[in-house]
Symmetry: D2
Subunit: 337 residues, 4 copies
């Protein structure tokens, strides 16, 4: 099997993880180029991972003929343009979410993808590649829990990261766009259906700083989907125990809970705190293997000439829904889709 | 300490449990009289529990001078009248929920209670007397979880009781009034606050029979409370695993979960189903000791000349809220309080 | 049904619990007399519980004609004599373990019991009356786990009670006689078989004070039983998390674990310690309802003229086995029965 | 960094996993050669993994000059000879356990390793590379649980693999050598101490076929270690729930439990079996990432010119202990080391 040569842009925490994964853990792939504005970090990382080509310009990187594909882990505001440019340059594209920072941008990305149907395009909804979520999804699709009644999903960041979250609050798009998008994606994936109404709530329970951006530190929404299923989502920045992503799907014949305890590992500690499990600290710890699985799938899609299960339209749809949630939250009223 | 002589009316499942508890497990109390229309059952039970006086008429029972108090476990439609009559006859009154089947009836009950301020009146919100709920409540009141952010509570009846639920559906008042009232009571008790808006959803996911009563077999609602806390309630009739009453209170500094696994006991089974816990089958199994604790508290209130923490106004308020939830569900729209 | 009038001796922690239970929670029973050398405590307790007769002399108490039965919660060294005296006085006898402080004393107790076969005699192996243990026992007896392979049982006292344990160490008989007896009783009850060999180990891991009594602060033993089952018991004084009594029965077709997490209640706490359960603090918290159930069974045995499932011979056998464990520990060698 | 070229021998289940890991998941490594007697399997695997050199003869493989190292996943009886031959040929050696099928063979292996001190030698005690075991080990070494009191470890294979286990029983060396060796290794690793006495027990509880090899289908042993710690090991072939490897370390200040529920993933299922976790099915599912981690460490040792933490002497010592356990089991008596 041939080797897919990938150029990756962005060396933030997640970008760094993607780069390391491509360089060392993805079969049939090679990290051929790296791009970042921070020259020091770029060189150190490229040296460490044995990467041939280094760029401070994305445009220059995608001009590199030997590249088969790019991995976008750049700031959200650049995604749409970079997707279009890379596709136009004939590259396959893996992009971190979101597709764009507005629904209009998402639509532009759709057009770019449609114009290059022979290129693989994949969006980084990594939870779909987590082994526990995949296992649960298979059971739901097989009808093991009957008809879905309630889909509940939480995304909570630990309180200890609050300073970063506040610093980033003006650019994040708010809890629904920054955090709940993954839960929205899961809801659509598990339910095979679209929302028809939403009521969003929330507030600044610990950190009034979010208020200036019309955001809260903790928010939630209740949606009804077209297949009648109820969907309750909760996103928060103040989890006392760790990075908590949990999902429950209540069906008429069975219930599945994924990660209702966000355990760090299989160690149970019995001490003066009682019997306890330590928790995952961040998304890299919790979803480390999902990030590998998704890029591996991207590479196989290229090798086998097929498109991944998650499409550009999923990206747009999730953004549209998240914006509607945000609007409901800001207006403090129920909205219809 | 003197002995409180109690007459109990109604020998359904819960009434029978109350009768047995009063006769055998409540300190400083005596089951002095029993009342039920089913003569056979009445006599058998009275014989077994050594009860002196037996009545088919509630009016005759409360005319019995030696009675100090009554316990009402009669059909819901009789509660308001029986509360008023018993108080008028000078008896202390413990009544099962609801206070009345309409908000107007609840207001009548309020008047009766106000007119007899020297009598103890208590409503059967037994979850407040469950040891785990009491333990959690104490922690929340002590500020251990910081400011409450999200209160989530489920009340699920096992699917295996569905025939009874369908048969009773025309008289139950619907999921919000029949089941979610306990969760509404808990929300108010834990949050010390009142709802300001509600969006309710749901449907008939497995049993269309509920539809003819404008009810669903599974429903939920999202409320905002005056203290900003979000409240998500879910009530269902199709739990595959057992009788499931669970509550989560997410605060800015800690999170408490009560009975997130509705374990039957402390036995864990490892077999070809994996590692599993069997579950509670019904409310009597789960809340057996709560029913004892609440009547014991009622008796102490009488002996010590004080009123219980849960008042007649709590009963009215919970009914008002449940009716608003029901209205939101039927109209399929968000409502304000 | 008639009321059984019981006199109880000993007002230590467990004696006090028995007295309260008999006075207030046991059906068809009355706490008619109390006996203790501490006059103040005796009077306060008798007043509080409404007990008519008070004694500082056990002999005088059993001379009280109206008494049907006695409950012995006196120091272990008095059990054998008090059993014999009470039976000779025509009383039914419930005695806390042990039957006697030597095997010879146990044999004397056997003779006393045999000489009064029309009197009910019961020994306080309360774990047999715990709902979880009863539930597990029923499953094992029904063959649900197949043939028993390994029986593992722990009895751990919290480190925080270590001062009392050290003070009492000279009189306790050591870990095997003081703590492991309950596990030995369970092993015989679950396996319906007797040990054929034992190897005991242990040491003073944290508290050298136990060494002067040839005892350890933590000990264990491995036994083979006649039915081939392996039995591993562990008893310790230094549990960091609470009062831990757990049992596992591995069978060829299923495995049961009882209380592998000694949870205080159904509350789960999520905070900076992770996700945790607080633990039981002591035997009264863990086995509160077992103490009630066992006395209730004692009373029903009297009322129905039958003997309880646990016999005087169980008491002797358990002591013999515990002494053999102790001998193996002291000699540091394997012994045969 | 240079790439370590590895030749792997043996394409049984574990050998196949090693080959795939080396070919695709190990950094700085290349699967350069494969060796197996089954030509079809050899070719299919080599094709799939892009392996240049294929051998049916181990001697020929190690004659390949470009090879830096070998991975031995051949039948146990060949290990000692292959270790010696590969080292003599100048290769670094990773060998699956055991070092040899007798203690004498282990000593031979020691000599071979000593004679080639500049070559890296590593034995496949993969549990030391499991993230949960590593996390627990770090805590124990840091003194977080105080002085170790009891080390308990189980290795249970699922009943559904019993046919294979019976077929292999004549060659396995018995439960202690085949299964408990990993627990023995863990005990020594966690306790930094050696056993001084052992009492082993067991029997054929479900499958008499093991009896002809003087083996049992379930066995256990209780050891005392030089640091006074008690060690209880259990190994069985009839686990009803899955592949169960669990360990508990009780210390004077804390207790750690690793994998007390051998959960397959983070999915919890609520259905008519109650609330349950499905379990790991086999060692590859449970220890998949440990097998990667250990080979990665082997490669880093070669690159960095150092020896791994687990030495050839650990291999011999574990075998000696396992043989002593086996002897104690066969003689049914306690033995000293």
């Amino acid at each position: 099997m041939r080797t897919i040569r990938i150029g990756s842009v962005g060396l933030g925490r997640l970008g760094l993880a993607h780069a390391e994964n491509i360089a060392t853990k993805i079969m049939h792939a090679e990290l051929t180029a790296l791009c970042d504005l921070n020259g020091d970090l770029l060189n150190r990382t490229a040296d460490r991972l044995g990467v041939k080509h280094r760029f401070s310009s994305f445009e220059e990187m995608i001009a590199l003929e030997e590249l088969d594909a790019v991995c976008l882990a750049s700031p959200s505001g650049l995604h749409t343009k970079q997707i279009a440019a890379a596709l136009a340059a004939g590259k396959h594209v893996f992009s971190e979410k979101p597709l764009g920072v507005t629904v209009e941008e998402c639509k532009e990305a759709e057009k770019a993808v449609e114009a290059h149907g022979d290129r693989v395009f994949m969006l980084g909804f990594m939870r779909r590649f987590d082994e526990s979520y995949m296992y649960a999804h298979k059971k739901v699709m097989a009808g093991e829990i009957g008809k879905p009644v309630l889909f509940r999903s939480y995304s909570q960041d630990p309180e200890k990261f609050i300073d970063g979250a506040i610093a980033f609050a003006g650019h994040s798009g708010g809890q629904f766009l920054d955090m709940a998008v993954h839960d929205i994606d899961l809801a659509r994936w598990f339910l095979n259906s679209e929302p028809v109404s939403v009521t969003a709530l929330g507030g600044c329970y610990a950190h009034p700083e979010f208020g200036q951006y019309k955001d809260g530190d903790n928010v939630s929404c209740l949606m009804q989907f077209g297949n009648d299923a109820m969907v309750f989502l909760f996103a928060g920045r103040t989890a006392p125990h760790g990075y908590n992503v949990e999902t429950e799907i209540i069906g008429t014949k069975g219930i599945l809970r994924i990660a209702s305890v966000p355990q760090k590992n299989l160690v149970e500690i019995l001490d003066n705190g009682g019997v306890r499990r330590e928790c995952s600290e961040n998304f890299l710890e919790r979803f480390g293997s999902s990030y590998i699985n998704e890029i591996q799938e991207f590479v196989y899609c290229i090798l086998e000439g097929r498109q991944p299960g998650v499409t550009v339209y999923d990206g747009t749809r999730v953004s549209e829904i998240a914006y509607k949630c945000k609007e409901s939250f800001e207006l403090n009223k129920q909205l219809r889709f």
